[in-house]
């Protein structure tokens, strides 16, 4: 187990290094540099600035400096936001994205497993038909439409009640998080419901369910202990990449609800070619994604003892 984990971690580090290198090269291949937007009007100012940030050195040297700094966990200063370290940007804004993402995943996972189990239980009956219709809707409507509709609903709710029940935008308290995270989790919830349903229906036909019935186990025991536990496996496999996707991909929701998450800084940095912020956020996101997949694989081993043998 320890050997397996260490092996996965090592290959994860190599993957992150690859991502960092590819991003570094791609970023420098783009015409222009972060000083384009600065008021570097005279060549002298421009020269001084590029000297300060080390942009005047040859690319391989910049790469080596970047790698050694990265190994020490230092991503340097932002080009466009004055006197702000990339580490500070990540430290300040990632928790916001993460909190939103975790709540969204909690909504999605709880909803997905519950609705999926329900639809399988009431297969081809009214609850199944209604839930599956909503699921299809959830998969087919783009997230920005949900975000816009969510905000519209909040506005109407507050107008109707006369007071501010839930804030329409902004960040700070739990009440700010509720609707955005629900909106963010809807697509994933629909996906998980579908997966859970098909997985439940597959499990029902397995021999061990028949055995359990033949043994005379009670229906709830069969449902929870045998059917649900086995059916949950594929859901957990998908959950890993989904956690990473949601925590890093909440950009639209962050935009609509004016939430100061990391996604906004990432997109902004790419637009302004802010080298250090791009590298910092990319490496951070990449490492986060790799770590999530590894963690999920390990959890998988705990839930399904058959996998542990590998």
């Amino acid at each position: 187990m320890l050997r397996y984990t260490l092996g996965r971690l090592l290959s994860g580090v190599i993957t992150v290094w690859f991502i960092a290198t590819a991003t570094f090269l791609a970023m420098h291949a783009v015409p222009g540099d972060p000083l384009m937007n600065e008021k570097a009007t005279t060549p002298e100012i421009r020269q001084n600035l590029s000297k300060k940030y080390g942009l005047d050195r040859p690319l391989p040297e910049q790469y080596v400096i970047f790698l050694s700094n990265m190994a020490q966990g230092d991503f340097g200063l932002s080009f466009t936001q004055q006197n702000r370290r990339v580490n500070d940007i990540i430290r300040d804004h990632f928790p916001v994205s993460a909190a939103l993402g975790v709540l969204a995943i909690a909504f999605a996972a709880a909803g997905g497993i519950l609705w999926g189990a329900l639809t399988a239980l009431y297969r081809n009956r009214l609850p199944d038909v209604i839930i599956m219709f909503l699921v299809i809707l959830g998969i087919s409507v783009p997230s920005f439409v949900f975000a816009a509709l969510g905000q519209l609903a909040l506005v109407n709710l507050n107008q109707w009640s006369g007071t501010s029940i839930l804030p329409v935008a902004g960040w700070g308290t739990l009440s700010h998080m509720l609707v955005p995270s629900l909106v963010l989790g809807l697509g994933t919830m629909a996906l998980l419901t579908r997966l859970m349903r098909s997985s439940m229906l597959e499990v029902v036909n397995e021999d061990y369910i028949k055995t359990a019935k033949a043994k005379g186990l009670s229906a709830p025991r069969i449902f929870f202990k045998h059917q649900l536990r086995n059916a949950i496996l594929p859901v957990i496999t998908v959950l890993g990449p989904q956690i990473a996707a949601i925590t890093t991909g909440g950009f639209v929701v962050e935009l609509v609800f004016a939430i100061p998450g990391l996604g906004r800084y990432f997109v902004q940095a790419v637009q302004q070619l802010d080298y250090t912020v791009i590298m910092g956020t990319t490496v951070f996101y990449g490492a986060f994604l790799v770590l999530m997949v590894i963690i999920v694989d390990i959890i998988y081993g705990f839930i399904d003892p058959r996998v542990r043998l590998k």
């Binding site: 991003t23 291949a29 783009v30 015409p31 087919s140 409507v141 783009p142 790419v270 070619l273 990319t282």
Partner: protein
Amino acid sequence: MSLERPLTEPDFSPAPGSAAAEQLTRPSLSFWQDAWRRLKSNTRAIISLYLIIGLAFFTLAGPLLWTQDPAAQDLDQISQAPALPKTARLVADYQPFTAPIVADHPSEPEDYPDELAAVAELSVLGAATTQSVKLIWAPVDQAGGYSIYRSERKPEGLLGLGLPLETVNAGNIVGFEDRLNLKSQPYYYSIVPTDGFDEFDVVTTIKVEPEQSITISQAVLQGLATPDDLPGQVIPLAFHPFGTDYLGRDILARLMQGARVSLFIGVVAPLIYVLFGVFYGGFAGYLGGKIDQILMRFADFVVALPFLLFMILFKIAFGIGPGESGVMPMLVALILLLWPATARLVRGQVLKIREQGYIEAARLLGGGSSYLILRHIIPNTMGVILVTLTFAVPSAIFTEAFLSFIGMGVAPPTPSWGSMCNEGVKTMLSHPHELFFPALFISITVLAFNLLGDGLTEALDSKMRTRDQ
């Protein structure tokens, strides 16, 4: 029938044979015929298939039937909600309006008055049209001027007078012409007299409902009338069944043009990257060993690249000049970044199929590599590939919409469904139809491809094949 009938010669001749009677089994169905048969019995999949055909028709033939220019701005109908065709009254071209001046009335008060009477005899001069609304009133004694307000809602006394249009600084000017962005809806004009500096707490309000109108030269320019038409005539305005956007462009025409971008990216990108993935994965799976390892490591690495960043980097790297839509860079970026999933899937399939008994048997019977690949391996992976393709289309459409929504996709003025949503979201509260229609089309397309994908999965699933027979 009695058995006692005497038997005759014909009774001993052989019965006439037919091919049908000789048939011992049902006609054999090929895998694809069988899959098609099962797909046809799936109502939802068939409806989605029709929907997709309808969308293709909408995209390809639509602009031929609905010939409005998607870039033309109809300034008479801006942000128009979907409605029946509208008409407008032709009016003469604009003549400058000089406000009437009452000659025997002083323009300034003699002293600063403590009180002023409300404006009397407030009325509309001529016909109120969306080209101009002219107000006249009787001069107020001792007034040094008048403030004119306009509101879309009925003011309550001095509250909610609305938009301050103008302050006239003479007591003897008793007319005003409003030409500010008038629409065919009720307006409440309020006049407050002033002493030249301060407004007094008396107000006179009048309700005016301008008639939709268009000047002759405008109408001729838009091809709605000929120069011979006379003022006063009622002519039909351009019809916008889905309304217009914030620049007065026809939403239906834009949806049709946007479909070309959205569906082009949504269909062509998956087609190419799935094809590439099939070759890549098939190659890796068939060769196996070291080459397979190296190829799949590379695929893993491409998967781990942060999608959004590379998408944007590609777009910038390709360099989009002014006036270009940026469809091509997006297409290339989608293809370069999304193929690994298909490659992985196909490789898995090929690895599985390679070990199957029938491949072994075909090889024993002397089948060469190319025969094995073309006749056995590719046909057996076709099902999975087809299903991947149908699910790849909605995800590509979503990606295009998402990128255009955050302003990283197709550059204006080229419309795409995503960028139309992006524009619509800004006016969501006042003009919801500008968001609703593009969002609806995205949803319908994605829904249709998803349901078709579901149907194909079921129809092509070999487990299902044995189950229902």
